[in-house]
């Protein structure tokens, strides 16, 4: 079935499968593999996108129900030669190891900084408590984002 939405600033009209999640549509249908599939039940945040100004798990959005939505995935946040400040901060601060959780952290953190450019440590920790990282122990991510917040 056909669904129309705005994705990374571009109007799209796409064919979605029955029972297809927005995550699957992005990855398998639209060739945007930046959003990661790690749990498919909203318990890891690796697939986080911003939809209608809310950070949500794209695995829990029925693609057919995304009709009319305004969606930003990690691909819409920065590119190799023009990184988003959150992306640069994570690289500089040692917030990246295996990197599988990283796009989800990038989107969730960018969303946080949009509403609160100077979050304190506990605000960062709670706002990102839905994003699981298995490699870093969160230390590198925290230092990266504290730096970005000017702390």
């Amino acid at each position: 079935m056909e669904v129309r939405f705005r994705l990374n600033g571009e109007d799209r009209s796409v064919d979605v499968g029955p029972a297809q999640s927005l995550l699957s549509l992005l990855r398998d249908g639209l060739g945007l593999p930046g959003s990661k599939n790690a749990c498919e039940q909203g318990e890891c945040g690796s697939c986080t996108v911003v939809m209608d100004r809310q950070a949500v798990c794209s695995c829990l959005v029925l693609a057919a129900d995304a009709d009319g939505a305004d969606i930003t995935s990690v691909e819409g946040l920065g590119s190799d030669d023009a990184l988003h400040p959150v992306q640069q901060a994570l690289i500089d601060g040692g917030g990246v190891q295996c990197g599988f959780c990283t796009p989800g952290f990038v989107v969730a953190a960018a969303h946080l900084f949009e509403s609160n450019p100077t979050p304190d440590t506990d605000e960062i920790r709670e706002a990102l408590s839905g994003n699981i990282c298995r490699c870093t122990g969160y230390g590198g991510i925290l230092r990266s984002l504290e730096g970005l917040a000017g702390r």
């Binding site: 039940q41 318990e43 949500v56 959005v61 129900d65």
Partner: protein, 267 residues
């Protein structure tokens, strides 16, 4: 799969009347898990995300109001509960109506509704009904919705005590399904309400504990201990992979007592 995406309540009810076996989709945080793992393949879906009326929050709480919104208030204990629902991403999508529809004993918003004896307004194309929370929640993952009906809103009583507290015990400090949770309210006249979740087939009220504590105008330490003991006695938990029957029993009493302490400290 067919999907209807109504933008107002009337159209939603028509869609449900035409396809009474349709699956209702709101925040998706429960249904999509079933779909992703191949456990559900609904033929027809009625998606409620666009129905503005369901997102209204005034006296009553629209079923489509998200946890992120409820986290902002106005109800203290419900906001406390909302803050513990899944992750920030889940709270942005999940709704209080979803908690009722899924009817899990671990539904984080349900103890607040139970403590207040809230009612659930259910609508269909042919009318509406009001069901008290315990008429609505009929069993574990079972509710009283009939085909063609949807949850419109939660209706709260006029009198809502200021002193209300929620607490949730889990093994992780965020994003966790509760081992047990409770909501305690204390009215100015001493009436006390205790609702406990994840401690029985549905959310339950510890009515003997309520009765005992409601008679105490300024409870002694011994009364507080007795209150804790009765709550632990009254709950009906099971042992599963998340916790044990005996720990849940113990923790339910402890949390209820602590929440009551906080209510009393609030003066």
């Amino acid at each position: 799969m067919e999907i209807e995406r109504p933008t107002d309540i009337a159209a939603a009810l028509v869609a449900l009347a035409e396809t009474p076996d349709a699956t209702v989709l709101a925040g998706g945080t429960d249904l999509m898990v079933e779909i992703n793992f191949g456990h559900a393949r609904p033929d027809r879906i009625v998606a409620l995300r666009r129905v503005g009326e369901l997102k209204e929050l005034n006296g009553s709480i629209g079923s489509g109001v998200s946890w992120a919104r409820l986290e902002q208030g106005p109800h203290r204990a419900l906001a406390q509960a909302a803050r513990t629902v899944g992750s920030p991403q889940i709270r942005a999508a999940g709704t209080i109506g979803g908690n009722l529809a899924t009817a899990s004993p671990a539904g984080d918003g349900l103890p607040f509704l139970a403590a207040l004896d809230a009612e659930v307004e259910v609508r269909s194309a042919t009318g509406s009904r009001l069901l008290r929370w315990d008429e609505f929640l009929t069993g574990p993952k079972q509710n009283a919705l009939e085909p063609g009906e949807l949850i419109h809103s939660v209706v709260l009583p006029e009198e809502i005590p200021v002193r209300q507290e929620f607490g949730k015990v889990g093994v992780r400090n965020a994003m966790v399904i509760s081992a047990v949770m409770a909501c305690v309210m204390r009215y100015d006249d001493g009436r006390t309400r205790v609702a406990v979740g994840s401690a029985g087939p549905t959310t339950l009220r510890a009515r003997r504990a309520e009765e005992m504590m409601s008679a105490e105008s300024s409870p002694s330490e011994a009364a507080m201990s007795e209150f804790q003991r009765i709550v632990s006695e009254e709950v009906k938990p099971i042992t599963d992979h998340r916790s044990t029957e005996s720990y849940r029993r113990h923790a339910a009493g402890v949390v209820a007592r602590r929440l009551l302490e906080r209510c009393l400290e609030a003066g």
